[in-house]
């Protein structure tokens, strides 16, 4: 059973990185689409939501085409920096990030749209610069919705299977995440290992969901104020 901890730690590492990347990208693009009107906004929204509805293997194939050795991004990374993402844990991070992205983006956009612009105007009249308005008013007011999206994204990223398998493969100790390890264990007939891995995965997911439920709904604004 010792071997179960390696895929768990790898999974947490991949999911944590995916969540951090999504926090930046999801908040940025969520704010952009919530506050700016520009031609093609709806189309962009649809494209950014696509990872949620596409089959993960299809998504994984797209990523492979893009960041593979011969893909436009992959070839460029290879020649410019000597970086190869395919069959690495960083590749798994990319896959998990893309798959979980719409959860953060959608939540962030809705959360920003729910912030009354009057609060921002009040801050401006009180002398606040635009970055200060964002970090001290807009973001704190939208934070609860964004946080819920981030927790769901973390859960989704840690359970990722299809796209990760396509991009990063299943190299034990290097790219084999928990969900892939379960699949491999079942395929190899290692029922005891599979049982244990499933238990670990389930407990982890329940913990994350409980945390999400505890932070997101029905809490008074004052509690969020504590996270200032």
């Amino acid at each position: 059973m010792e071997g179960a901890w390696i895929p768990l730690l790898l999974t947490l590492k991949v999911a944590a990185w995916a969540t951090v990347l999504n926090m930046v990208a999801g908040i940025g693009l969520g704010l952009l689409l919530a506050r700016l009107r520009f031609p093609g906004r709806d189309l962009l929204d649809a494209v950014l939501t696509l990872p949620m509805v596409l089959p993960p293997t299809v998504l994984g194939y797209y990523l492979l085409v893009l960041i593979g050795r011969n893909g436009p991004i992959g070839a460029w990374l290879q020649t410019q920096f000597g970086i190869n993402l395919v069959f690495t844990w960083q590749g798994a991070v990319i896959a998990a990030t893309v798959v979980a992205f719409p959860l953060v983006f959608k939540s962030a956009r809705a959360a920003f749209e729910a912030v009354d612009p009057e609060f921002e105007q009040a801050a401006r009249v009180l002398g606040r610069s635009e970055p200060a308005v964002f970090f001290r008013v807009t973001l704190p007011l939208a934070w609860r919705g964004i946080m819920a999206g981030l927790l769901l994204a973390f859960a989704r990223a840690s359970g990722e299977f299809g796209a990760t398998l396509m991009v990063a493969g299943s190299l034990p100790g290097r790219t084999q995440t928990l969900s892939i390890a379960v699949y491999e264990a079942v395929q190899a007939g290692q029922d005891a290992l599979a049982n244990f891995l499933v238990l670990v995965a389930s407990v982890t997911c329940v913990a994350v969901l409980l945390a999400a439920g505890w932070i997101a709904p029905g809490r008074v604004a004052g509690r969020i104020a504590g996270s200032r």
Binding site: D116, E118, F119, Q121, A122, A123, R124, V125, L126, G127, R128, S129, A132, V137, P140, L141, V220, A221, G222, I224, A225, R228
Partner: protein
């Protein structure tokens, strides 16, 4: 007190003498219809009220003064400082205009408690934390909310929330306070209280205030000048008295028709010129002749500097002459009754009380005690009953004289906006 109001369009020249020099245009889209906001006024008001029905463009105007909206053309100058000038390319951002803005629905930060809400604007000014909290606490005390510093906005009533908004605006010590229907959501009693407090605060702290309202009574109470807006234009700027006694057009006249005039009008606004006075050396017969000539039953007696000495009735003189108790060369003081006097700025409500105590005309004197005019009972009733038109033929024909017409005119106005 009177005569300093300016009409729209007169304020195109910049000048330190004028507090407000606003001339702005902006295309707006409202209910699927495009129209152009075109607001021009100049005024020296310290408590300026923007008054008009909803949809007249009051809030849009206030927002552009605050820098929360950008005009397409024109300029905004406040107390000699240019905040916006399209042709000169000046557009001072809202955060650098040094104004405080009170929103209709308060806009208190829900994630901050009362103290932090009030202290919020101070952080920018580089005030150290301890001083910030101290100044915020003082502002909270000032609006009567001491003890609520740790509460969150959602835990407070509407009236208390607006007090927090007021404290937040006062804490930053902005010279200019912009208030958008700030008291509209409050119940009448608290509203009245807040209005009184605001007038009091303004007098003590020497702020310049612009107050937007669609409530005429509130406008007349709060404003030392009122700018009346209609269909995205300013149609008149004047003191409350001017607006009531000399409405610029039928629109304004229709608005002020039903208002309680007694609290707004002053003795100075309804007084009539003194046609005849008597002096002590005139003698009783001369005084009597003057009264007969003018058809008066009494006359005010003044000294050489037109200070009121008393009131003389024809009845009393005739009786005194008959009994030979007077010398013909001068008016004896014992013939006179004390004259009721009021100042030019005495509210009509007080004049009414005095008028009800006697039948003699009331002398209106200025600050130096000189006779300026008289108020007779008939004039009080006339002032309360209707608007005295300032120049016949002004505005379109069919002036609404009767209240029923005024009502129709209001309805037409509504249709116009829709």
């Amino acid at each position: 007190m009177t005569g300093n109001g300016s009409r729209p369009g007169t304020g195109s020249t910049p000048g330190a003498s004028s507090v407000w020099d606003v001339n702005l245009r902006r295309h707006l889209q409202h209910a699927g219809r495009r129209f152009e906001l075109d607001v021009r006024f100049a005024s020296a008001a310290r408590r300026l009220v923007l008054f008009g029905p909803s949809g007249a463009g009051k809030t849009q105007t206030l927002r552009m003064i605050a820098g929360l909206g950008t005009p397409d053309a024109g300029h905004v100058r406040v107390a000699g400082r240019t905040l916006f000038d399209r042709t000169a390319g000046i557009d001072v951002p809202a955060r650098k205009r040094g104004m405080a803005y009170l929103f209709q629905d308060y806009a208190l930060f829900p994630h901050l408690n009362v103290l932090d809400n009030v202290a919020y604007g101070l952080e920018v000014q580089g005030v150290p934390l301890a001083r910030r909290r101290e100044r915020a606490a003082r502002a909270i005390e000032l609006v009567g909310l001491g003890g609520w510093e740790g509460s969150y906005p959602h835990e407070l009533s509407g009236g208390m929330q607006q007090r927090v908004g007021l404290a937040r605006a006062l804490a930053v010590d902005a010279d200019v306070l912009l208030m958008d229907e700030a008291f509209s959501a409050l119940d009448p009693l608290i509203r009245r209280e807040m209005q009184d407090e605001l007038i009091d605060l303004q007098a003590r702290m020497r702020k310049t205030i612009v107050f937007v309202t669609h409530d005429l009574d509130e406008a007349l109470r709060l404003g030392d000048r009122i700018a009346i807006m209609k269909d995205a234009r300013v149609v008149q700027v004047g003191t409350p008295e001017e607006v009531i006694t000399a409405p610029a057009d039928d629109y304004v006249a229709a608005f002020v028709e039903g208002v309680d005039r007694s609290g707004v009008l002053t003795a100075g606004a309804i007084m009539q010129p003194v046609r005849e006075v008597a002096r002590l050396r005139d003698g009783p017969q001369t005084a009597l002749n003057r009264m007969r000539r003018s058809g008066l039953s009494g006359i005010l007696v003044v000294d050489g500097e037109r200070r009121v000495l008393g009131y003389l009735t024809s009845e009393r003189i005739v009786a005194a002459l008959r009994e030979g108790e007077v010398t013909p060369d001068r008016i004896h003081r014992e013939l006179m009754e004390p004259a009721a006097t009021v100042a030019t700025d005495t509210p009509l409500a007080d004049v009414i009380t005095i008028a009800s105590e006697g039948s003699a005309p009331i002398a209106v004197v200025d600050a130096t005690g000189r006779l300026r005019g008289v108020v007779v009972k008939g004039a009080i009733l006339a002032a309360l009953a209707r608007t005295q038109r300032n120049g016949a033929g002004e505005g379109a024909g069919g002036a609404p004289d009767a209240p029923s017409h005024a009502g129709a005119s209001h309805a037409a106005l509504g249709a116009h906006r829709a």
